[in-house]
Amino acid sequence: MVKKFFEWLKKPMGLIAVGIAFLALFSGFAYWLNTTQQSPDQPIQFPHKTHVAFGIQCLYCHPGASKGPAAGLPSQAKCWACHNQIAKTQSSALLAPLKDAVLAGESLEWVPVAIVPDFVQFNHRPHIAAGRNCEECHGDMSQVNVAENPQVMNMGWCLNCHIEAAGEDQEKLIKLSDCGTCHY
């Protein structure tokens, strides 16, 4: 019986079956691996597109970017200041979490999209001061709803830009490519 099975495995049909089984296993694993890489849902499907279309500047909601390390998330008070006056806030199901959270005094738990590991000391301020625009790293927010990270934020990506920024300026290059500039 077992022997017959092994005999069958050696035939073309058997080989195909083995191939399919292997592929199924592999794709199952790949899918599982993929699920571990997915971020959980945001509490609100925040449409950046809409807000940018209204002409709201990035720094209005993320003012920390021009001042220090963290760009920051707007407080609910800031959201509510506008939304409170918008009739749709009361009716829209999409906005219900905001309304509920504000009324209940609960906080919204956002899932960070662009984040660097904690052994990297990133500071927004010098990047903004050097004339970088938000979209160079975070993508064009006028095109997306929920923010997505368009970059693989790894060291090579950081360095490429640093080296480009330094250009021929040796002193700047030394500073911008020093390990201790980001790692401490």
Partner: protein, 241 residues
Amino acid sequence: MIRPEEIKMSAEETGKWGMVIDQDICTGCQACVAACAMENNITFVGEVDSGYGRSMHWIRIERFWEGEYPEVKMTPQQPMMCQQCGHANCEPVCPAFATVHSQAEQLNLQVYNRCVGTRYCANNCPYQVRAFNWRDYQRPEPLQNQFNPDVTVRRMGVMEKCTFCIQRIHKAQDTAKSEGREVRDGEFTTACAQACPANAIVFGRVDQPESLVSQLKHRRHGVKHLEELGTLPNVTYIKGG
């Protein structure tokens, strides 16, 4: 691409940041040790491990004894931390480039995330000032609230050491740059120097002759520890009165 010949060897330089420690007035009160631990998220290791030479102090205060009772005397307390050598023994031996020389700040950097834990650097450090994370030491809730966000929280298997509070250097430089000026002497200091009740630790630019640390270094008869090894340390000790 930087051409190697354009990089100045730190041996030819005097370094950039330096410290002067006055052993005559150091009382060994441990305030610097505590300040360093608080600033740099240094973990405590408990009784057994600390007794077995596994404490994580980035700075320790050494003292010895001279003479016999009743003529016994404690030698001047000697705070010992990374000397930020210009010619550092720790750097070339790391196979992973986890400890390298900062061109910009002339410090010995320890890049935690690059460290694989061969511990060669610590072995080769004549000052024995490197601390290794022998375990994942736990800090129970809510002690983590105290973590300084400017300093990486190190994990098991990683070497660490005094950084001359490089996060403060960066912060001061960032502030100065945003205000369009140079960093002023004394504008900021390291956590240990900040805390020292006796002001026995002074930190600053050793490459600027007018800085306090340069003045002290030259005015008082400072010595550098194990200077004979050619390590070009950037910490100067003032021994006597």
